[in-house]
Amino acid sequence: MTDQEKIIKIKEIYQDFLVRLNELKEKANAQTTAKIQAIEKQKIEDILNKIHKEL
């Protein structure tokens, strides 16, 4: 492999790294969103249960 090729290859690896890192980021974001939604839903249910009990 020539130096030039090596440089290109390294740059490719870096690009690939960035892409995969972004994927991880998106995945993490999606998980966080889902978690938040689940928590909100639970809270709403709790409140509703409370109201029902009081009624």
Binding site: M1, T2, Q4, K6, K9, Y14, F17, L24, A28, Q31
Partner: protein, 1235 residues
């Protein structure tokens, strides 16, 4: 861009690995124009091989683009020849873009050489070389790089170098000094700007940074991010570790990637290194194993040392790290031992790979030498005799050496004249070499080449071997053909038109045979065919035999046609296509042929000429749905007419009429049943797989319009049908069934589904799937063939069997269709006859009932009446019903041609019956014929028996014109009197007529106190006049009007008092039955509701009480007066409300305004509900789309499955006597819209 990775670029196979800019570069290279200094090159010694004609061309004033291009190429080639030598240029994998680096090297070498010769010029040489390196770099990076520019650059450098050497020629320096200084100083420049290490460092840092950032934000992702970072960093390390590859290594890599050996590769150089590597690995494994068992400090040191060696060899740092990082650990021994185990394992793997690599390499070398030999042999073969003899001899000697076969040498020795024998030897040697090459290649995993083929294969290894070549098919051995049972079958079928002939000719009579077959097929389905015994039983023997013959002819002809077309298609296939592509193309062609045949048969189906029953049959099957509607209508007409029939019979209607009714009903039942069976059943009708398909593939959808099925659905359906669940046989069956229907309906197959256009896409799905599976079977069959002749035989056999199966299915579908028709018609006929029988018997029952009234008293001699007397059932009296009206309704029903009687005659007829009732009301269950009690029943008895109908008719018939005139006038008088509020009873009717005839209506009204009522009924203005003329109140009003001097208060009081008096009188009049109900009665009560609320309330209750004992019309009028906005004449609320109240037993009789209001509230609650009604009629507010807005109506659910037709719930809406049906969806829409 000096990239050896690109060197494979010349060969087509590896072209895909080319970098994109390469194309551009090559293009630019070709288009480049010869530079102005092209003549300079002649002077350069380095370009010694440069042809003179090139320079001449370069100097030619008019240079065409083509000659320039050629000269460019030659120029460059000469240049390359000088730089790299002939041998390098002959290499196929030599590639121009890698020129940059060699030139850079050449520059260094030149500088070094010159520096050796002229050490005094060391610094100048260095500067020049550095400058050249820089320029070279710029050139390499430049967008418009070309081979020619590179050439120019190099020429310039050489000129500069030459001038430097010429210019400065006296200085002394040691050789070593000069060389080292130049080389040292030049080399760093090469890599100065961007080194891989530097880039790697930079990127690793960036990777770490970015990873840390993400981990900081999302700690959960740490493990994944860490793994990613590790992967990336390892990848970068790997890249850094990889060293520059030699040509051979590069080629090997490429070969590894492709997985098969490539011909012209430099192979020779490598093996010693490979061998030594294997030795190294082996010895290290041994050392590690030894060290593993060695004890003490020495052993430890040895283990460390060998692990480090292992790292070096493998190219990692892992084992070294283990030793280093865990050296303080107390378990270090264990760890190191583990590390040794792992290292040994890894080394063993490596050894294996290396051995494989070396083995492949050896194989490659062998192949190379064989190819070289072939080349040599071929070259010597073509050489002229005298020169060639030596060459041939040499080549054959080489062949003996490489192939290890003395036979060639023997030939050479025994035939010194050369000539044929030598040539034969050369040919044989070539064949043997090729065979060996194939054998070696077959040893690869590809397994494509045939080892044995060396003996028989032609000189050029033909890729065409895969192609289905017709000529080869023809020439092939007959034995293999004979052995194949498929072939025997095909041959037998083809009747001598066998495999010896070149190609199976397409049958010119195919069209005729096709239409013959389908005509015969249709005839077979013809129930009335003359080819049947007794015209409609089993088919005649001749017919059956004839049919088989026609069928076979068609099968053969079509199979031949397809075979011819497919073989032709295959012969013309591009041989370079992959096996897969070829299969796909043949498959598509096969399907195309099937679709073509389909069109041809469609043509027959649509254009067939038929007459008589055939036409009727086509109409019949085409119009199944219409028949269904018509049939049901007829059936209902027949059924509903039963009562009427009874009456008709009673009044002496002719038996023909009854028979017609029964026949109508029977035919209706037959038609609807037959149509239902036709459209709705599988066992007797048109329903089939296609309808299942709709259900299976489109469960999501509900029944709807024609755009129900989309292209997407078709795709889904095809997918489904292509699954294993639907084998070809099932698809063939359905296809044949649809074809039969298409023939029956005289339509194309696509329109053959039960719902025609709606099912086109589904038919297409079935066609596609069926043809595709046929084609698949065909291609599979073909692929199984081992020899071309087998392939051909299998092709024909497969086509034949397919055609045979298809026509057989068509035959059985036609037979089934006929049997279904018989079954359908039998069942329908049974239902039809059954219905007729049912209706007939119902009629007979009616007619045969002996009415109680005519039962002779005990003890008397029974008198058998000449005409059977029919008793009319008791009838419930509704609100507003009158004797007259009820009799009229009844007569209208039972007397045929009632409408043809004139009003006078009708009146007389009704009068006859009414008089009978009035004369003896109790006999009819009545107390007061003038005031019928709603809810009670009128007992008609035998009133409408034929005897009475005839008797009544006698009066009607004997009416004179004078009498008729009289009756008409009387009617007018009575209607006018009724309009003016005169209550007409049976007691007073004659008096009224007499008085009015004598004195006029006005006089009568005046005398009987109807003046006010009359005036009120007409208009408000007339009130004063009426009062003025007839009553005291009128006088008062008149007086008030005349005397303007009276003040307001007195006027008001007087008016009130007057109004109250007038109202009271009106209300009284109504309550006592002396007056009819008019709107002003309610208004007048309302008018003093404020001044005398109690009195008003009392009066109102009395009014309500009376109203709800009066006729329905009065009640409706009253309700509309009560709340004109709610009970409008348009919304039908009054009628529906009244009926609802009447029907309800929960609601008490309405005696007061409060009770009425309560009922209205209950009704409103019920009617405003949007819930779908149940099986009882309930009031509902519906928006039927009329301009006046929502209306009140009765609605109920009607349902029931009748042969699967009314699967969904239906709702019957009774709106003012109009009956309308809606489905569930529409009904709830109406309800919601109204709400």
């Amino acid at each position: 861009m000096s990239d050896k990775g690109l060197s494979a670029h010349r060969t087509g196979e590896t072209g895909r690995r080319r970098m994109p800019e390469e194309d551009g570069r090559r293009r630019r290279l070709r288009q480049n124009i010869v530079p102005s200094h092209v003549d300079d090159m002649q002077e350069e010694d380095l370009l010694a091989g440069h042809d003179a004609d090139i320079s001449e061309e370069g100097l030619t004033p008019v240079v065409t683009r083509e000659t320039r291009r050629k000269s460019d190429e030659k120029l460059v080639d000469n240049f390359l020849l000088n730089v790299f030598g002939q041998e390098a240029l002959e290499r196929d994998d030599f590639f121009h873009s890698e020129l940059v680096e060699p030139i850079a090297e050449t520059i260094v070498i030149l500088a070094t050489q010159k520096a050796r010769e002229r050490p005094e010029l060391n610094s100048e040489l260095l500067t020049l070389a550095q400058k050249a390196q820089r320029e070279l770099r710029v050139l390499d990076e430049a967008e418009d790089f070309s081979r020619l520019k590179l050439h120019d650059f190099f020429e310039k450098y050489k000129r500069d170098l030459a001038s430097l050497l010429a210019y400065n020629n006296d200085n002394n320096m040691s050789r070593e000094e000069t060389t080292s200084s130049v080389v040292e100083k030049i080399e760093p420049i090469e890599a100065a700007q961007e080194s891989p290490d530097k880039v790697a460092e930079e990127k690793v840092e960036l990777i770490n940074q970015k990873a840390e950032q993400l981990i900081a934000v999302v700690p959960e992702a740490k493990s994944e991010v860490t793994k990613l970072v590790d992967d990336s960093q390892n990848g970068i390390k790997e890249v850094l570790r990889s060293r520059k590859l030699s040509h051979l290594e590069y080629a090997e890599n490429e070969l590894d990637k492709i997985g098969k050996p490539k011909s012209k590769v430099e192979i020779n150089a490598e093996s010693p290194e490979a061998g030594s590597k294997i030795d190294k690995i082996k010895s290290l494994i041994k050392k590690l194993n030894d060290a593993f068992s060695a004890a003490g400090v020495e052993g430890y040191a040895a283990r460390r040392k060998f692990l480090q060696e292992a790292d070096d060899l493998i190219g990692t740092k892992q084992y070294q790290d283990i030793v280093l990082s865990h050296s303080k650990d107390k378990d270090k021994e264990l760890l190191i031992n583990e590390a040794i185990e792992r290292a040994v394992k890894e080394l063993e793997d490596m050894l294996r790979n290396e051995e494989i690599r070396v083995k492949n390499l050896e194989k490659l070398k062998e192949i190379k030498s064989l190819r070289d030999l072939i080349k040599q042999l071929e070259a010597s073969f073509g050489a002229p005799d005298l020169d060639g003899y030596d060459a041939r001899k040499k080549a054959l000697q080489e062949a003996v050496r490489i192939l290890g076969n003395d036979v060639y040498l023997v030939i050479l020795n025994h035939d010194k004249d050369g000539g044929m024998s030598v040539n034969e030897a050369i040919e044989k040697a070539i064949l043997e070499a090729e065979g060996k090459i194939r054998a070696l290649e077959a040893g690869d995993n590809t397994g494509k080449a045939n080892v044995n083929s060396a003996e028989t294969a032609p000189v050029t290894p033909a890729p065409e071997a895969e192609k289905v070549d017709l000529s080869k098919l023809m020439d092939a051995s007959a034995k293999a053909v004979e052995a194949d049972p498929n072939v025997q079958e095909a041959r037998r079928r083809l009747d001598g038109n066998g495999f010896e002939t070149k190609i199976v000719e397409a049958d010119p009579e195919l069209d005729q045979k096709r239409s013959d077959f389908w005509a015969a097929n249709r005839e077979r389905g013809n129930f009335w065919s003359k080819n049947r015994h007794l015209r409609f039983t089993a088919q005649t023997k001749e017919q059956l035999a004839n049919y088989d013959k026609i069928k076979e002819e068609y099968d053969n002809s079509l199979a031949n046609e397809k075979q011819a077309k497919l073989l032709e298609f295959m012969a013309n296939l591009d041989p370079s296509l992959s096996e897969q592509d070829k299969k796909a193309k043949v498959l598509a062609k096969h399907m195309e042929l099937d679709f073509g045949e389909e069109d041809a048969v469609d043509d027959i189906a649509t254009k067939q000429e038929v007459s008589g029953m055939g036409k009727f049959k086509a109409f019949w099957r085409k119009t199944a749905l219409h028949r269904l509607g018509l049939g049901i209508g007829m059936f209902v007409a027949g059924w509903k007419g039963v009562d009427l029939l009874a009456k008709a019979a009673a009044v002496g209607m002719g038996p023909g009429f009854i028979a017609a009714r029964v026949a109508l009903s029977s035919t209706g039942a037959y038609m609807s049943s037959e149509a239902l069976l036709d459209t709705r059943t599988k066992w007797a009708g048109q329903k089939g797989l296609i309808d299942d398909l709709k259900d299976i593939a489109f469960k999501k959808k509900k029944k709807g319009g024609p755009d129900l099925i989309t292209q997407d659905d078709k795709t889904v359906a095809i997918k489904l049908l292509m699954s294993e669940k639907y084998p070809l046989e099932i698809l063939e069956k359905e296809h044949a069934r649809l074809r039969t229907l298409s023939l029956d309906k005289h339509k194309g197959i696509k329109d053959a589904g039960r719902f025609g256009a709606e099912q086109i896409l589904m038919v297409e799905a079935i066609q596609t799937a069926c043809f595709r599976k046929r084609a698949q079977a065909y291609v599979e069959n073909l692929a199984n063939a081992e020899t071309p002749e087998q392939a051909r035989a299998k092709s024909l056999a497969s086509l034949l069997s397919q055609e045979k199966a298809a026509t057989l299915e068509a035959t059985s579908a036609q037979d089934k269709s006929r049997i279904k028709a018989i079954a359908r018609n039998s069942v329908a006929a049974f239902i039809g006859v059954g219905t007729g029988w049912l209706i007939g018997s119902k009629l007979v029952d009616k007619l045969s009932v002996q009415p109680e009234a005519t039962t002779p008293p005990e003890g008397t001699i029974p008198v058998v009446p000449e005409v059977p007397i029919v008793e009319t059932p008791d009838q419930l009296i509704g609100r507003g019903d009158t004797v007259w009206g009820m009799v009229e309704d009844h007569l209208a029903k039972v007397v045929p041609d009632w409408d043809k009687l004139n009003p006078a005659q009708q009146t007389r007829y009704i009068d006859y019956f009414e008089n009978k009732i009035v004369d003896d009301p109790s006999a009819f269950g009545l107390t007061d014929p003038d005031h019928l009690q709603p809810g009670t029943k009128i007992h008609w008895g035998d009133l409408f028996a034929d005897k009475n109908l005839d008797e009544g008719m006698k009066f009607v018939k004997t009416l004179t014109p004078e009498q008729m005139q009289n009756i008409v006038e009387n009617n007018k008088i009575l209607s006018a009197a009724a309009k003016h509020g005169v209550e007409i009873t049976h007691d007073n009717v004659n008096d009224i007529i007499r008085d009015i005839r004598a004195n006029g209506l006005e006089q009568y009204l005046a005398e009987h106190g109807h003046g006010v009522a009359q005036a009120a009924a007409e208009n408000a203005q007339d009130i004063a006049a009426g009062v003025d003329a007839e009553t005291e109140a009128g006088d008062m009003a008149d007086g008030l009007e005349a005397d303007d001097v009276m003040d307001g208060e007195v006027e008001d009081a007087a008016t009130e008092s007057l109004e109250q008096t007038v109202s009271d009188e009106k209300v009284e009049g109504f309550l006592t039955g002396a007056r009819a109900y008019t709107g002003d009665i309610y208004e007048s009560i309302q008018s003093y509701a404020e001044t005398a609320p109690e009195h008003a309330h009392e009066q109102m209750s009395a009014l309500v009480n009376k109203v709800f004992e009066s006729s329905a019309q009065v009640q409706q009028d009253f309700l509309q007066d009560l709340n004109p906005e709610d009970f409008t004449p348009d919304n039908n609320k009054a009628e529906v409300f009244l009926k609802a109240v009447q029907a309800s037993t929960r609601l008490p009789d309405i005696n007061s305004l409060e009770q009425l209001q309560e009922s209205i509230n209950v009704f409103d609650g019920l009617a405003s509900s949007t819930a779908l009604p149940g099986k009882e009629f309930v009031p509902r507010l519906l928006d039927l789309g009329s301009e006046e807005g929502p209306v009140y109506a009765f609605a109920k659910q009607v349902s029931g499955k009748f042969l699967g037709l009314f699967g969904e719930k239906q709702y019957l809406v009774d709106y003012g006597g109009n009956l309308v049906k809606f489905n569930e969806e529409a009904m709830s829409a109406l309800l919601k819209k109204a709400a």
